[in-house]
């Protein structure tokens, strides 16, 4: 479920980074407020490493012959509490992005939101905790884990669909994409929920105090939750409304519908004033391609397309030649003694 940079537009990426940064900032404040005992700092790090290790261990999925691994968000939240688990999750996602090419650097905000915020600050306090809080029994732990993991994963994959579609990189329609993602993640969620339940039940039997301390240490005040939800709704509105409308002035949105309606990718705009203005706009805009104009303002898309292919191939050739020349010089210099 890690999103790569290639699946995001700048507008969506920036919004999600801002939202996640804001929520992490709030979480750090909360952690400082509840006076996180210093023991928890290395604990969070080691548990982060545990989630990593846990993700490397494959288990067989009964009846399918295939294998999978757990995500570990709810597991982490139930061991560390919501805010510390979010910080830990963010660190895990950053390391995964840097060292395992799992998710992009600019998509980090989205990934933290989809897999961290939704799991640790939505599914855990709204689903897992209320069920466990009244009474901690193996049955309740099982129900809470399965529900929290499944719903968390459903919300997460829904967010992935929203962000990808808003970015305009896929030709899949919103509903088609959704119908691909949700059922797969429902199955994954149920399996991961069941595994999480057995792990937590094992901990419950062996070292119950670990689960108790996570419930006790990081109280979620209702006010703070409201704020988090408010931020989320606000972010959704911005992403879904203003920014994505701006971003999807790409062919996926407006131009695309024009293309479908009129049977051409462009509206007629042959007047010289119009072309001059469009050229001027392309030269001056910060992100010129967000305006509806073909690449050079050339009225003929075919010639631009062919020029693009020829020029692109030539640029590629030049890149390869530059690489070969550079490699030749590097090798020649490598043979020389260093002064």
């Amino acid at each position: 479920m890690h999103m790569s940079d290639a699946l995001l537009s700048v507008a969506v990426g920036a919004t999600m980074t801002a939202v996640s940064t804001g929520i992490i900032g709030t979480s750090i404040k909360k952690i400082n407020k509840i006076e996180l005992e210093e023991k928890k700092i290395p604990m969070m790090g080691v548990m982060g490493a545990f989630v990593f290790a846990a993700q490397m261990i494959n288990f067989t999925i009964p009846g399918t012959g295939s294998s999978g691994h757990i995500g570990g968000g709810i597991l982490l939240a139930s061991l560390l509490g919501p805010y510390p688990s979010l910080i830990t999750m963010a660190s895990i996602l950053l390391i995964q992005c840097l060292f395992f090419a799992d998710g992009g650097l600019l998509a980090l905000g989205s990934n933290i939101f989809n897999m961290g915020v939704i799991t640790c600050l939505v599914a855990y306090p709204l689903i897992y905790k209320p069920i466990i809080k009244r009474e901690m029994t193996p049955k309740r732990i099982t129900i809470a884990s399965i529900l929290a993991v499944t719903i968390g994963l459903q919300l997460g994959s829904f967010a992935v669909v929203l962000e990808t579609v808003a970015s305009g990189v896929t030709e899949l329609s919103f509903l088609t994409f959704l119908s691909f993602m949700q059922p797969i993640h429902l199955v994954i969620g149920l399996i991961e929920g069941a595994i999480t339940a057995t792990v937590l039940n094992f901990i419950y039997q062996m070292r119950r105090e670990i689960l108790d301390s996570a419930l006790r240490k990081a109280p979620m005040k209702p006010v703070s939750l409201k704020r988090v939800l408010f931020i989320m709704v606000f972010a959704t509105l911005i992403t879904g409304g203003l920014l994505s409308a701006y971003a999807s002035s790409s062919p996926d949105g407006l131009e695309w519908s024009i293309a479908n309606v009129m049977g051409t990718t462009e509206l007629e705009n042959n007047t010289s004033v119009h072309n001059t203005l469009l050229n001027l706009q392309e030269k001056t805009a910060i992100l010129p391609d967000y305006s509806i104009v073909n690449e050079t303002g050339d009225p003929s898309p075919a010639s631009t397309g062919i020029a693009g292919v020829l020029g692109g191939l030539f640029t590629l050739l030049m890149t390869v030649i530059a690489g070969v020349v550079l490699m030749y010089f590097k090798k020649r210099n490598a043979g020389r003694p260093v002064n």
Binding site: G45, I57, V169, I195, Y290, L326
Partner: protein
């Protein structure tokens, strides 16, 4: 098992690559981080279908890989890991959008072909940029750069701890995994029903280890946060690199070199 050892091997490979001494390795970490972020933003800002605009950006990874002496094999390994989802998106675009973009000789180029190439190329560029950064900068240097850019110390500390202990905990997991597989020789992986006690045991071991680590740190004067000494900011020379790179990136973004060169042939 192969999963655990592969992942650890990958981390070790990267750490080994960090130790080299090339022009790129010697660059200031904060400068590299800034340039990588700028590159990613500019590449991502290119609109769908504009493959020709993306191609010139290949210069950066090609030059970076050669100057930093990163093996092609490592790069390909990363791309294989990171590409599946993007590949799915790209290929689905190929089938879903058959609108004709433009004819070329006897071949018709569709919008789907363009957007498929676009997604794949964009993915390759963004992944390579991050790999160049991590293959040439050690984790400690990256953390210093993060502190320079005012990333909260608790996050930096967490990343440091998590990264440091992945090896330790993964080794623990690997020992347990060996024990399990030796007693269940025909099993390809751990059975789902055994995952509870297996991971549960690993959690308890990790907790106990965290406790011991904390006590050891306390003995050495730990007071809640790791203090990072020494400033590794950006020097005047570093800023010069940043400004020049930013200039080139923005120029490439504003002027479509591919189209300009293509027009020469027509």
């Amino acid at each position: 098992m192969s999963n655990i050892s592969n992942s650890l091997l990958q981390m070790n490979n990267i750490e080994n690559m960090n130790q080299k001494n090339t022009v790129i390795h010697r660059m200031e970490p904060a400068v590299k981080l800034l340039i990588t972020l700028m590159y990613l933003i500019v590449v991502i800002s290119v609109n769908p279908y504009q493959v020709s605009r993306l191609i010139p950006y290949l210069f950066y990874p090609v030059i970076g890989i050669i100057l930093a002496e990163i093996s092609l094999r490592t790069m390909i390994k990363y791309l294989v890991i990171a590409m599946p989802f993007t590949l799915f998106t790209g290929i689905s675009n190929l089938f879903l959008n058959r609108e004709i973009a433009f004819p070329m000789a006897n071949v018709v180029i569709t919008q789907g072909m363009l957007s498929c190439c676009f997604v794949l190329l964009k993915s390759i560029l963004t992944i390579l940029a991050v790999v160049i950064l991590t293959s040439t900068t050690s984790m400690d240097d990256l953390l210093y750069a993060m502190i320079h850019f005012k990333v909260p110390i608790i996050i930096v500390t967490q990343i440091m701890f998590t990264y440091r202990y992945i090896g330790v905990i993964a080794e623990e997991a690997s020992i347990m995994y060996h024990g399990y597989i030796l007693r269940a020789p025909k099993a390809k992986a751990i059975k789902a029903k055994d995952m509870g006690p297996f991971l549960g045991q690993l959690i308890i071991r990790s907790f106990d280890r965290a406790e011991r680590i904390y006590q050891a740190m306390k003995c050495r004067g730990f007071e809640g946060y790791v203090s990072f000494s020494g400033k590794k900011g950006i020097s005047g020379k570093g800023w010069f690199y940043v400004v020049i790179t930013a200039g080139i990136l923005i120029a490439l973004r504003l002027v479509n070199i591919s189209i300009l060169l293509g027009k020469l042939f027509m």
